[in-house]
């Protein structure tokens, strides 16, 4: 713990210096997190360290990139993210399992393990969905539309890919219907 707090004290000023914008908008939340975390046991020390680096670095690296920019005021707390994402993935798993019974696709297989949802459609390709916790995103790899990363949108109550404004459920519905020839209702 002593090492951890020394580490924090050393890291903190640099962090403060690195991301003035982050601090201005989120100062209260960030610092309260730090205090909260620093009274947790030692294992949280790595998390703190990585979060500091993550926040300051992403602020910089994404600033030059419109579509991937991160609005820190709307970042989900980790617990809420897991709740939402797990619900979504389990829901998709159920719906697509049922769908599999209705369509005749050779090699249709859906599997959820190690927090990764894999949907195999034989020769039509493979879908992979997984949680990307550090970014609070759900990542999808589609044989049709390729890779996409969905953020939770509170207003729309949906997972949305910022670049294309596509919604996860709608995109999957459209692609699966095109691939398998049967409509599917996911939302």
């Amino acid at each position: 713990m002593a090492t951890a707090s020394r580490f924090l004290l050393r890291k903190l000023p640099r962090f403060l210096k690195l991301s003035p914008t982050l601090l201005r908008s989120n100062g209260v939340r960030v610092s309260s997190n730090l205090i909260q975390d620093s009274i947790e046991p030692l294992d949280s020390f790595w998390r703190i360290g990585s979060r500091i680096r993550h926040d300051s670095l992403t602020t910089r690296s994404f600033s030059s990139q419109g579509p991937a920019s991160v609005d820190y005021s709307s970042v989900l707390q980790e617990e809420e993210f897991h709740k939402l994402a797990n619900f979504t993935i389990n829901h998709l798993l159920e719906k697509i399992e049922d769908y599999g019974d209705n369509v005749q696709i050779d090699g249709f297989d859906i599997d959820y393990g190690n927090e990764v949802l894999t949907l195999k459609l034989g020769s039509l390709g493979t879908y992979v969905l997984n949680k990307q916790t550090p970014n609070r995103q759900i990542w999808m790899s589609s044989p049709v539309s390729g890779p996409s990363r969905f953020d939770w949108d509170r207003d729309a109550n949906a997972w949305i890919y910022r670049r294309t404004e596509a919604k996860l459920h709608k995109l999957l519905e459209e692609e699966l219907e095109n691939l398998c020839g049967e409509p599917i209702q996911l939302s």
Binding site: H54, L57, T58, R60, S61, S141, G146
Partner: protein, 117 residues
Amino acid sequence: PNVGTGLVGAPACGDVMKLQIKVDEKTGQIVDARFKTFGCGSAIASSSVATEWVKGKAMEDVLTIKNTEIAKHLSLPPVKLHCSMLAEDAIKAAVKDYKEKRVKTNGAAAAGETTQA
């Protein structure tokens, strides 16, 4: 001044990609490209292939390089498509950075000329 740098990725997920292009200012051709990538093998391979492909091409042409082409070339499995996306983003970010730099230098040069006149 004739180098554009694209830095993309989220350090927290373990993937950061830096791709730099050196551009011939007269022709707009990319004469050299370098990468530095922290991440999985697929991310490193994607950025490597990206540098190979952009070399000798016109700046406008490399913007059409798609993640799907990179993924196909490397036969990336579905889970790894995201890495090729990162490489596409890196190329675009590098070109954008170069263009922004050039606008700045040109603006400064133009301002210099007016004062001289």
